[in-house]
């Protein structure tokens, strides 16, 4: 029994990989995909859910009395329920469908920020934010006269949360911070930030795009006011993301898009808005993507977020342990308690040249600033190479990755 349990406790990667048709596509036979922080691969279950919708019950939702539309509406709303349960929301109408994390943040910027921010207010961000949780707040501040403040990033790749007490003032209206860094892999203690912010009566938006795929989340335990993430980074389709907001906050916000489906009553000169969540879902939605995301969540739950987290932690430990021994490799970000997102530099070789070399060995990694220029400025670099691992990656992939680092050094050795 104990043995059975311990086996069950481990993610069976060989089985998991069979769910992803891209890995058995002949041209990809050699592919080692290490760019899941950019987007994850899609399992058959998700692709099938989308195909079934398109082939068997394509129709618009909430608008018609016939059976097809009933089925589409049920599929759509069922996914909303699954997502609410997945992140521990109190109500499914606190789940708003958007195009992605970026659009979700923009919804809060427009619907909440433009309504409530005033000159002299402060918005607290961190130096570790993805541009999608930075640029909207720059514009919100410019429009409203609010001021931006930043939680600094230290040399080890952690946020200096010790400075929170100084940074949070009675003028702070909102803290917008990432739950996990897409560059450094840092996992942020957002609970601590939320508690401190709430003491000062500030709201907190958490960017969970890099956290939700890797670990269980409970927005009520966190007491997050807003929580956003993207479907395509957690086995779901592109073009779908989630804005979670506490009911009272979403109710107080203005709609962001106006038009069909979001109204309660319409007159010649004015209209009233539908209840949550439809108030924020104007126009025809990306229904197949919603249904696909629902299927992705079912699969994640079947495999188990705890098991996935453990697998990711094992891979992270294994890769860091190997890279630590290489004096010509720099790994950015914390040594422990981090996600399997590994930004690194090889002495004397630019990140692009590393990525091209890896590609020649069929290892897909990313290079660049990863939409986080504040981190680059802080680290005083212009680009990093980044390998990000997920549930379909194995220790063998780590070995091949480390081997490619050695080979890259050999290849470029004549001119470094």
């Amino acid at each position: 029994m104990a043995i059975a349990e311990s086996i069950e406790d481990k993610l069976d990667v060989v089985q998991v990989r069979k769910h992803f048709p891209i890995f058995s596509y002949p041209e990809n036979a050699e592919l080692i995909y290490l760019d899941s922080a950019a987007t994850t691969q899609r399992p058959t279950k998700v692709l099938d859910a989308i195909r079934h919708f398109n082939e068997e019950y394509n129709s618009n939702i909430h608008r018609s009395a016939y059976k097809l539309a009933e089925k589409a509406t049920a599929g759509y709303e069922c996914a909303r329920l699954l997502i609410a349960q997945f992140i521990g929301a109190a109500h499914s109408h606190e789940i708003i469908f958007t195009r992605g994390a970026t659009e979700a943040i923009n919804f809060v910027m427009r619907g909440w920020g433009e309504k409530f921010l005033k000159p002299g207010d402060e918005i607290l961000l961190s130096e570790m934010e993805h541009h999608s949780n930075l640029v909207p707040w720059q514009v919100a501040a410019q429009k409203s006269g609010a001021k931006l403040q930043f939680i600094p990033l230290d040399d080890s790749g952690e946020l200096e949360l010790g400075k929170l007490d100084d940074l949070l003032t009675e003028r702070t209206r909102l803290v917008a911070v990432t739950h996990a860094s897409n560059v450094l892999g840092t996992r942020v203690d957002v609970k601590r930030i939320i508690d401190a912010a709430h003491e000062m009566k500030a709201l907190v938006l958490v960017d969970g795009a890099q956290h939700v795929p890797h670990s269980p989340v409970n927005v009520q335990d966190l007491d997050a006011d807003f929580y956003v993430f993207s479907g395509h980074k957690m086995l779901g389709p592109m073009g779908i993301g989630i804005l979670y907001g506490k009911e009272a906050l979403l109710d107080a916000m203005d709609p962001v898009l106006y038009g069909g489906s979001m109204i309660d009553d319409v007159g010649y000169y004015e209209s009233t808005w539908a209840k949550l969540p439809w108030k924020f879902e104007a126009g025809t939605q990306n229904i197949p993507a919603v249904i696909g995301l629902g299927a992705a969540i079912e699969l994640l739950e079947e495999w188990g977020m705890r098991r996935i987290e453990k697998h990711d932690r094992m891979l992270t430990g294994y890769v860091l342990q190997q890279l630590e021994q290489l004096d010509f490799v720099t790994v950015f970000g914390p040594k422990e308690h981090r996600n399997p997102v590994i930004s690194f530099a090889i002495q004397g070789i630019h990140a692009h040249d590393i990525a091209t070399f890896f590609d020649s060995r069929n290892i897909a990694i990313r290079s660049g600033h990863h939409c986080a220029k504040l981190i680059m400025k802080k680290l005083n670099i212009s680009a990093t190479a980044r390998a990000s691992f997920y549930l379909y990656n194995t220790t063998e992939h780590v070995d091949l990755f480390v081997d490619a680092i050695h080979k890259a050094r050999g290849y470029f050795a004549r001119w470094i």
Binding site: H350, A351, H352, D353, T356, F357, S360, S367, G368, H369, K373, M376, S382, A383, Y411, F412, R414, W415
Partner: protein
């Protein structure tokens, strides 16, 4: 896809020891090229007089392809007329994109042909073109001033 086609000896040499580094003191063209996706940067200064590139220098940071391309470009455009350089720009573009082109080769591409290998690596075309695009933009701005 052979890496050696991309990273030819001459390219690596220019990456290691770029030519024409710095700023032209009496430059009348100052232009920056930036690749927003990867953070590669080129700052180019040129002295353009009587329709001729009299002097050109650059500073920058980035990958082997973008920096060596900048270095080789400065060597090849110095002393040429603006019209010749514009033509060279076109030819270089065709070369790195691997495009067939009908117009005659009026220039000997000599060392620049080392960038032919880039055409097999579409994601690196923008690296090779970074300095060239900046150069063209700079020259066009300068010419505009005189209503050309």
């Amino acid at each position: 896809m052979d890496l050696d086609d991309l990273y030819q000896e001459i390219i690596l040499e220019h990456y290691k020891e770029p030519k024409n580094q710095g700023t032209v003191a009496d430059a009348n063209v100052h232009v920056e090229g930036r690749n927003p996706f990867c953070g590669d940067e080129i700052r180019l200064t040129m002295l353009v007089k009587d329709g001729r590139i009299v002097d050109v220098k650059f500073t920058g940071s980035g990958c082997a392809i973008s920096q060596s391309s900048a270095s080789l470009m400065t060597e090849h455009i110095k002393g040429k007329t603006v019209d010749e350089v514009k033509e060279l720009f076109k030819e270089f573009g065709h070369l790195v994109r691997g495009e067939e082109h009908t117009h005659e080769h009026i220039h000997d591409m000599d060392e620049l042909s080392a960038f032919q290998g880039v055409s097999a690596f579409p994601t690196r075309v923008k690296c090779a073109m970074l300095a060239w695009n900046a150069m063209k933009e700079g020259i066009e701005k300068e010419l505009e001033k005189y209503g050309e």
